[in-house]
Homo-oligomer: 705 residues x 2
């Protein structure tokens, strides 16, 4: 934090600490003064309203804060009762001391353990206090979750009924078009179909094309353009410094600029750009005409028509003409749009199976890899490493860490891998992919970190017992829980000290930015690219938070001292991320809070796990009235069912009463239509003014539109 | 059949044998001649097309015939392969004879058993033929079911896109209206809400009222009207026969006309009618103004708007403004429309639990009742029965049959009970209630008749074994199967001889009709009421057919001789019901084939049961390659999933491409609106001409409309 306070006031770092404000065209600091209180950000974060967050960072971020504050609320309210009630109750009993002869052999009981439920005599009447607290936590969770769901639903409705024109509210995505009848173009087919159903509200359609080729050429072209600007900047600088005898920058044409013929950069790039522009134009024409696919975007003249169309069944055969709400243009995944109905379903199930296998058995391939990559094997198959490996110091380090290395690499790559898997499912929008990946990551962390650590070796030994008696699982879990309380308290503390410290000070992006600026970046555009921040990256952030929720909830009764750590984690997280959301991260999409039902479901899952654990734990404590806890998991299920019945559908679709609100101005349909044309398909000449004046554009993409 | 051929040609019986034709205004016989071939109906049934069935009896009946012919097709195609292949294979082995020492003790093996799989040596290679046949039956079922689903889907689409104006296609049912804001009527609330969402296509709305009171008065009034007509007819007849001194009919005013003051019928009834008419009018006004409920019917100006509205989410809170397709006016259950969203869900689950308990434990209360109603108890608590009960002959009969009596009464009342339960769920349409009841009845028959008889006592003895080893159930089932083959063959045969014989000859309705005509009916209306046929009563018919399907499928491989009986059952059923559908039954509602997905699911359930049974049976036969059958249940599940994904949604909603077809004439919206006004709320004076001229009607029901 101190590092942040110092670093963030320096002029050169503003782009790292305030990129979101700069991109929005605001001053980095509100007052504009250079000498400001280094802790002003705390005040700013605390005083910022939800509306500020929505306007700076969108609904999705605001929903994330609702999640944070709901969990915080649950933990604080639980803590307020649990700490003063349970700690004295536990501390004044002394089961551990009495049975110290039996228990010290299992481990050393510290003062921490005295404050936990393990210190209660088995079958003692004091357990009633713990039962009451178990109920208290659940009831607090229900009330706050209900309020939060209602709040988020209203927030989503507000955003959707905003009088601003938003392109995606006028469009629907149509997939699984049937084959075209001969003599009819794809466009005619789509138009005539929708015109007959919506004679008044249909505006026009855009047939989806296979843009792989044209995207590639466009990417190359953009790359050369950047290089040209860079070469020109270098040349201009050298002219300035060296006068007339400025050296024109040169580069080599071969692989990575390392080999091949040496050429004059500016000439070479200009030539390449000209060449590629022609190629791009030709490819654009080919794409528009011949690479049309079996899906289309259909635009309507008003929001109600689009919202209603997105929810209605259009064809008698459900696997034809499937219609859904169009995602924002920027998060539409064009390459997934051509997949057929059953292909998507099949892919989905295959991915589920792969994920299940990954979650359950990820240790096997890693074990194999680390077994293969012993030093011996390395020396044998990669002889060029021999001189390095043979040095004593390196060998010791490698020998110790090689097995872990594979695991670390795997864990670092896992989110990317899950994102890739989710994309492969055939999901048409980026935000949905992130949600899907986040769900998968949640299962992975809860299953492997929480359950894995807790049950540890015992699980494998007792595998056979479990097979015979599924009811034993909670008991087994309960038995292994208290021993790991200290471990998890440390885990939570570590998470927020290291994680949030790094997060706030943004040390890594700062260092990368400064390195890049010094050695690589020459042009304005390159510098901007260097500091451009990402978004909040929900795919990993949410599951990590969920893991903390799960851990803290499950230990809340057994070792209530974990609650302050959980509170600290979410309070600090809320504060720091509020700052980051307002000033740093730039959301890369807007899904109007569709993330919330997923978060909700997972909090409920954590709650269920907690309740089942408690059931098992009370059973182990030989508490006669354990069945008194049975209504809890049932009521959790009923609560989740009721909530999803009442709220969930409004998160899948846009309610018509929401869509029918008046707009501030009449929508510019032409502009809405154009916002969906991918950049690689826009004719080069109008590239920058596509939104202002693109009447010629319409005629250009005639075959496409 | 002979009885039918003779009876149906007699003039007086035409109303019993051809009511549907008469009601449609057609001649009972096509040729119109009296002396016709007694078996002409067979020719007529065979030569009738699906279109005939649809026009005479609606889509639902046509779907029922698709079901019949699909099952028939599956059985015929299976039989064609199974009988010539499996019977010789089984007959030429002689496991039974070899092991006769061991097996005859269990029962007597007849020639029938020689033709079954029980005659195959355990672990014999001949079992491969049975494996192949198991696959054959499944594949035939898949292909025919797929075709049938496609066919029914097209039939439904055709009916829905018919150019005829159908009221229900222009209306939607809106439930769960939120509370009215003060100073606003319910009607204003509904109108303003829908006008803002559908400014162009909204026509008008009808607020649902609580009609219980007004229905009661109206029912009484109608009763008195009928009695008046009857009294007048009697008086006219007595005038004709007795000249001037005709006796005016009299009746008593007390209970059931048995006691009380004697009054002149015609005067008394006329007085009553006048009195009730006034009361009705007052009650109508009160109902329309004060008994408005939280639901409404909303009418649109075109079909697409209504179809689309029925599928869209209207309110952000899903439990408000829930919209669904309006059922036909005649099958709308007004009393269920006021139930709230979560009340409906709660009721549904409670009913599910009740049904589950009924299915699983129905023997317990019956056992209790029959234990209580022993002769001893009867004599004790109902002393007035003593003289009857004490007679020797009666006592013997009663002693033997009293225990069964409770069971018989229960089974007779079961369909009514299930219908009542389904209605209590809060389902708004009669056809849906019938579907729900039919599903419940299916579970009951399969669970109790099929599984109950098959497993019999063995199940209870081995209950503990099953609890430990769920996998054992198919094996247990398989072990008990062969012994019951003969029983079920008899069962199927009995079903079609007795059931269909009665069905075709309509002996029971014929006798009732003649009795009524002779002793009770005096007026034309009363005679018409006496012969008025019901509908096909799917609630019991479909589950009974399903039971046969399940039985025949499960035994098809084990004892292939059952197949001809199954074929005969469905072929005869098809033929006879074709006749009945064309000439007798009058459908009481039209759901456009919504019954089909239910039938489909239950055929799949039967198929799954069959495949699991075979898995168990091959296991018992010590066939080493039993796991080769494992893909079958999995592929059944995938097949069912695929079908429901592809077709099912079009059965829940009307596809827009279907709804957007042109109409033959522009719809008379006024008339559509009026068709939904329940008869009890129509002002008395225009009762008969409500459809022709009801402009005054509109102003009358002003507060209501």
């Amino acid at each position: 934090m101190v590092i942040f306070a110092w670093l963030s006031t320096r002029q050169g770092n503003t782009v790292v600490y305030y990129p979101n404000r700069i991109l929005k065209g605001l001053e980095p600091w509100e007052g504009g003064s250079r000498t400001r209180n280094p802790f002003a950000w705390i005040k700013e974060a605390l005083s910022s309203t939800e509306q500020d967050v929505i306007s700076m960072s969108g609904i999705d971020t605001a929903v994330y804060f609702v999640f944070m504050s709901t969990v915080l609320g649950i933990l604080v309210l639980s803590g307020v009762i649990l700490l003063p009630v349970l700690l004295p109750v536990a501390a004044t009993d002394d089961a551990i001391r009495k049975h110290s002869g039996q228990t010290t052999s299992n481990g050393t009981f510290s003062d921490f353990d005295k404050l936990s439920m393990a210190n209660i005599e088995k079958g003692s009447l004091r357990l009633w206090a713990f039962v009451a607290c178990t109920y208290w936590v659940s009831i607090v969770a229900y009330i706050l979750l209900w309020k939060a769901y209602k709040h988020v639903s209203a927030m989503r409705a507000n955003a959707l009924m905003s009088p601003e024109v938003k392109s995606e509210q006028f469009a629907v995505l149509v997939r699984d078009l049937p084959d075209v009848t001969p003599g009819q173009t794809r466009k005619e087919q789509v138009d005539s179909y929708f015109k007959s159903i919506y004679p008044d509200t249909f505006y026009r359609s855009m047939v989806v094309t296979n843009n792989k080729e044209v995207d590639k050429i466009w990417g190359e072209l953009e790359g050369f353009k950047k290089k040209l600007v860079r070469a020109e900047t270098i040349y201009a600088e050298s002219q300035k410094s060296g006068g007339s005898e400025a050296t024109r920058p040169t580069n080599k044409t071969g692989f990575l600029g390392l080999c091949g013929k040496k050429v004059d950069s500016i000439e070479y790039y200009s030539e390449k750009i000209q060449e590629l522009t022609k190629k791009l134009e030709a490819e654009q024409k080919v794409t528009l005409r011949e690479k049309q696919q079996r899906s289309a975007l259909v635009f309507f003249t008003n929001r109600v028509a689009a919202a209603s169309a997105a929810q209605s069944l259009h064809a008698q055969m459900v696997d034809h003409w499937t219609v859904m709400e169009a995602p924002e243009a920027r998060q539409l995944i064009w390459s997934n749009l051509n997949l057929k109905f059953f292909e998507r379903i099949t892919r989905q199930y295959i991915i589920y199976i792969i994920v299940f296998l990954t979650v359950a058995f990820y240790m096997i391939p890693i074990g194999l890899i680390s077994a293969l990559t012993t030093l011996k094997n390395l020396r044998k198959y990669l002889p060029f490493l021999k001189p390095i490996v043979d040095q004593d110091a390196i060998r010791t380090v490698l020998q110790a860490y090689l097995p872990q290395l594979a695991l670390i690499i795997f864990l670092a790559l896992l989110p990317k891998f899950l994102l890739f898997l989710s994309k492969t499912e055939g999901i048409p929008s980026q935000s949905h992919v992130v949600r899907a990946a986040s769900g998968k990551y949640f299962y992975f962390t809860v299953f492997n970190v929480f359950l894995g650590v807790t049950l540890g070796g015992t699980l494998i030994d007792t595998m056979k017992t479990i097979q015979d008696d599924v009811k034993g699982t909670p008991q087994l879990l309960a038995k292994s829980l208290p021993g790991n309380a200290t471990f998890f308290i440390t885990f939570v503390a570590l998470k927020f000290f290291v994680g949030y410290g790094l997060e706030l000070s943004r040390l890594v992006p700062l260092i990368i930015f400064h390195l890049k600026r010094k050695y690589l970046c020459k042009t304005e555009a390159e510098i901007k690219e260097a500091w451009l921040p990402g978004d909040l990256s929900y795919a990993t952030r949410v599951p990590n938070d969920m893991l903390i929720v799960t851990i803290v909830l499950c230990y809340s009764i057994i070792a209530p001292v974990i609650i302050p750590f959980g509170v600290l984690y979410f309070a600090l997280g809320w504060l720091i991320l509020r700052n980051q959301a307002l000033k740093v991260y730039v959301p890369s999409y807007e899904s109007y809070g569709k993330m919330w039902p997923h978060m909700f479901k997972r909090i409920i899952a954590a709650l269920l796990l907690y309740q089942l654990t408690m059931l098992g734990y009370f059973g182990v404590s030989q508490f006669k009235f354990t069945p008194i806890l049975l209504p809890l998991p049932i009521s959790s299920l009923i609560f989740a069912y009721t909530c999803s019945k009442k709220f969930y559908k409004a998160f899948c679709h846009t309610a018509l009463e929401v869509a029918c609100q008046e707009l501030k101005q009449t929508a510019n349909l032409e502009q809405i239509f154009k916002s969906y044309i991918p950049p690689s398909l826009i004719a080069d000449k109008q590239e920058d003014e596509q939104f202002e004046d693109a009447m010629s554009q319409v005629s250009r993409s005639g075959s496409f539109v």
